[in-house]
Amino acid sequence: GESVGLHLPTLSVQEGDNSIINCAYSNSASDYFIWYKQESGKGPQFIIDIRSNMDKRQGQRVTVLLNKTVKHLSLQIAATQPGDSAVYFCAENMVGAGNMLTFGGGTRLMVKP
């Protein structure tokens, strides 16, 4: 399943399935993108990042895809586990904006055992 992460929608997946979380970013001048995971009662934690000169980057069980043509970013989580349940945020950084990240609205991922 997939979901657009702008109004804190909820994506519910079965344990072991793959998850896809989508994000539409706002600024074509953005050259750096990052995904964060926020568990209940905690601060956002870095998952994976990607620069605009790439269209795909893989980490451990996670892959980020970047489509600059349509200003779209997605996070794929393979073999989703209960510990993946959290709110996921995409964020963008524009050239010239220093290190300031602008965050999207977040998507809640719920993993059913």
């Binding site: 109004h7 804190l8 750096y32 990052i34 964060y36 926020q38 009662g41 905690k42 601060g43 956002p44 934690q45 870095f46 990042d49 709110v87 945020f89 950084n93 220093g98 290190n99 300031m100 990240l101 602008t102 965050f103 609205g105 977040g106």
Partner: protein, 111 residues
């Protein structure tokens, strides 16, 4: 060791009071931030300091005053608290690579 630590974790106070939230990072980063997260989980930048100097000051009421005594600390003082200030406030830090490291948040409830 916690990389970015902020205190207190919870803050419950009456309207009109003045309160402070403290933040310290032991990562050696030059830049620190305050973000506000509302009830819908939306995260918005408030301030950014680089080496004790203010570099970003978004549209935030001047009741909010950040203070950076050194580059490892960025405190947030809030005067005359209002109901709408209730939120979770996150401190963060970063270095040149633009990846932010967040603290665990301070949940502020104004009654």
């Amino acid at each position: 060791d916690t990389a970015v630590s902020q205190t207190p974790k919870y803050l419950v106070t009456q309207m009109g009071n003045d309160k402070s939230i403290k933040c310290e990072q032991n990562l050696g980063h030059d830049t620190m931030y305050w973000y506000k997260q509302d009830s819908k989980k939306f995260l918005k930048i408030m301030f950014s300091y680089n080496n004790k100097e203010l570099i970003i000051n978004e549209t935030v009421p001047n009741r909010f005053s950040p203070k950076s005594p050194d580059k490892a600390h960025l405190n947030l003082h809030i005067n005359s608290l209002e109901l709408g200030d209730s939120a979770v406030y996150f401190c963060a830090s970063s270095q040149a690579e633009r990846k932010l490291f967040f603290g665990s948040g301070t949940q502020l409830s104004v009654l």
